[in-house]
């Protein structure tokens, strides 16, 4: 069995909605039926067969090849299986996904992992604004699982996040962790302005101290955190050597909101 592969033939003249292409929906379909699935977003009808060359037969493991930033909703609602994207992903990557694994070799558009509640997404490149943020029609952002962005993240990363773990390898934009309810974001590099704006609970962990701190975050000083040791050791088991150590400056905030959140700035 080889991964079910969708190779983009050319540049379609409309954005694509690839949400029908997840293992749970493809499992029982014949190749002919898969090619007939509608993925257009305009009045001009477009099917999988029109846009993609389909190969392989293992619907539990999907591969998208040659995709670009207009291929939206890859892995949206994913519950199981694995999706590898050899190219860029459009908006709503892994939107509201509950389980499974998505790996993007390129970058992703807006709202990657929005309101996801389980599973994991890894983006090798940059992610657009509102990654791990609020999906359309939802009141909360990410609710579980793990989102790894190895490049830069756009503004409003993790907006109203409720649970889950986000790790950003590059820089994050303004309002990172804005209005977060709970959960954890680990920033390996810098963040823009207003990080933690409206933070209620949850942890923002910084390797580099943020340049601008909101005045509504209050200092508790530097101390040891066993939590950082646990996190660091777990990250190492997943192959990521972050070097968190065990000491950090703790700031509590946002005191303009509930104020039970924290920034841990690794010392």
């Amino acid at each position: 069995m080889s991964a079910l592969t969708f190779e983009l033939k050319g540049k379609p003249d409309q954005r694509l909605d690839l949400s029908p292409l997840i293992p749970a929906k493809l499992n029982d379909l014949k190749p002919k039926d898969i090619e007939a699935l509608a993925i257009g977003t305009t009045r001009v009808k477009l099917s999988v067969g029109d846009a993609f060359k389909v190969k392989g037969n293992d619907a539990g493991s999907l591969r998208f090849v040659g995709t670009d930033g207009r291929c939206d909703k890859i892995g949206a609602g994913l519950t199981e299986g694995e999706i590898v994207v050899e190219g860029d992903a459009g908006a709503y990557l892994g939107d509201a996904m509950k389980g499974g694994k998505i790996e993007v070799k390129g970058g992703a558009g807006v709202l990657a992992g929005a309101s996801m509640s389980g599973g994991s997404i890894t983006i090798a490149g940059d992610a657009g604004e509102r990654a791990a943020g609020i999906a359309v029609g939802e009141t909360l952002g990410m609710r579980g699982g793990q989102l790894t962005i190895n490049g830069n993240a756009g503004p409003l990363l993790g907006e109203r996040m409720r649970r889950g773990f986000v790790i950003v390898g590059g820089n994050a934009g303004d309002y990172a962790g804005g209005r977060m309810v709970a959960g954890t974001i680990l920033f390996k590099r810098g963040v823009g302005r207003y990080a933690g704006f409206g933070l209620r609970r949850g942890s923002l962990i910084f390797i580099e101290a943020p340049k601008d701190l909101l005045p509504t975050f209050c200092d508790c000083g530097v101390m040891e955190f066993d939590y950082l040791r646990i996190l660091d050791r777990w990250l190492r088991t997943t192959g990521q050597h972050v070097g968190l150590g065990d000491r950090a400056r703790r700031l509590m905030g946002d005191m303009a909101a509930l104020g039970k959140g924290e920034m841990l700035i690794v010392a």
Binding site: R163, G164, F165, A182, T184, R201, S203, M223, E224, F225, D226, Y227, R229, I230, L231, D232, R233, W234, T237, T238, K260, E262
Partner: protein
């Protein structure tokens, strides 16, 4: 039937009668092994017998820094009771009073299992609203603010209902010193067997009991058949030249681990035992009708 001898010590053809228990394992870590041991010893103090101590608990083994979740030295503790509710209460009270209070400590689950016992999930209330829940790698931890920083405690730990309590060995000898030395040897080797503890003081109990008493309300009383001072008056189990009897009680997460511990213990007792005056190794039972697990000494050393 020929008498079975192990290096000159008679192994009585009998069996240890043991009971099903519920049990769990937790891992305590601390800045140093010494402090992890202090927390563990405190938590497992006064946990010799469910007759009146509420639980039977002990230290299973120590853990090096690279074996624990937070990379600090740790101690694995086993705790057993007769039912799940009692175990939950004992665990909460003992971890709450003895581990939470111990400087620099953290506490983690040490057993997987579908059934769970609350650990941090009940102790978190000590945080008075300042506690934080953190999920790392699918496991949930509570961070509870305390005066030396944070007490990190995993939310739950697994529970086993296949635990066994009351595996035992009785050692008979011609002098108190010889019996004590033999039992010390046995406890030392049993310490190295995984999944078991010896809950009594130093792993050894001198007041073996029988069920019931002549006094109303006394549920257990001295095992007169093994009291050397009563040889003349009761139906004694002791030869005239036996001066002292000591018992090693073993609780374990599985019956296989208890059998292993008893086997190791018997060999350690017999090693040089005969020359020192150890005469018999036997085991305690209630006729076989009370406990479902029977550890026949003959089969164990076979």
């Amino acid at each position: 039937m020929p008498e079975l001898k192990l290096k000159g010590v008679t192994v009585v053809d009998t069996f240890a009668e043991a009971f099903p228990m519920v049990g769990t394992r937790i891992i305590i870590t601390a800045p140093t092994l010494e402090w992890a041991l202090i927390a563990a010893r405190t938590m497992t103090g006064f946990a010799t017998s469910v007759i009146a101590a509420g639980a039977e608990a002990g230290i299973e083994r120590t853990l090096s820094a690279d074996e624990t979740l937070d990379g600090r030295p740790g101690v694995a503790v086993l705790i057993f009771t007769m039912d799940t509710n009692k175990l939950q209460t004992q665990l909460r009270n003992r971890v709450g009073q003895c581990v939470l209070t111990s400087p620099g400590s953290a506490c983690f689950a040490g057993l997987e299992g579908e059934k769970k016992l609350k650990l941090g999930a009940s102790l978190r209330f000590f945080g008075d609203g300042w506690q934080m829940s953190k999920r790392v790698g699918g496991r949930r931890f509570w961070r509870i603010p305390v005066m030396d920083g944070e007490f990190v405690c995993e939310a739950t730990t697994g529970l086993t209902k296949k635990a066994v309590g009351g595996g035992n060995l009785l050692v008979l000898g011609k002098s108190h010193a010889a019996v004590l030395a033999a039992c010390e040897r046995a406890v030392r080797v049993i310490d190295d067997v995984p999944e078991v503890i010896t809950p009594f003081p130093g792993g050894i109990v001198r007041s073996g009991s029988k069920v019931g008493s002549k006094y109303k309300g006394q549920i257990a009383s001295t095992n007169d058949a093994y009291c050397p001072t009563l040889k003349a008056a009761v139906k004694t189990a002791l030869p005239l030249d036996v001066e002292a009897v000591l018992e090693i009680v073993i609780d374990g997460l599985t019956k296989e681990s208890i059998a292993k511990a008893m086997r190791a213990g018997m060999h350690a007792i017999a090693d040089g035992g005969a020359e020192q005056g150890i005469t018999h190794i036997t085991a305690g039972n209630y006729g076989g009708n009370l406990g479902p697990h029977h550890f026949h000494l003959k089969e164990i050393i076979a």
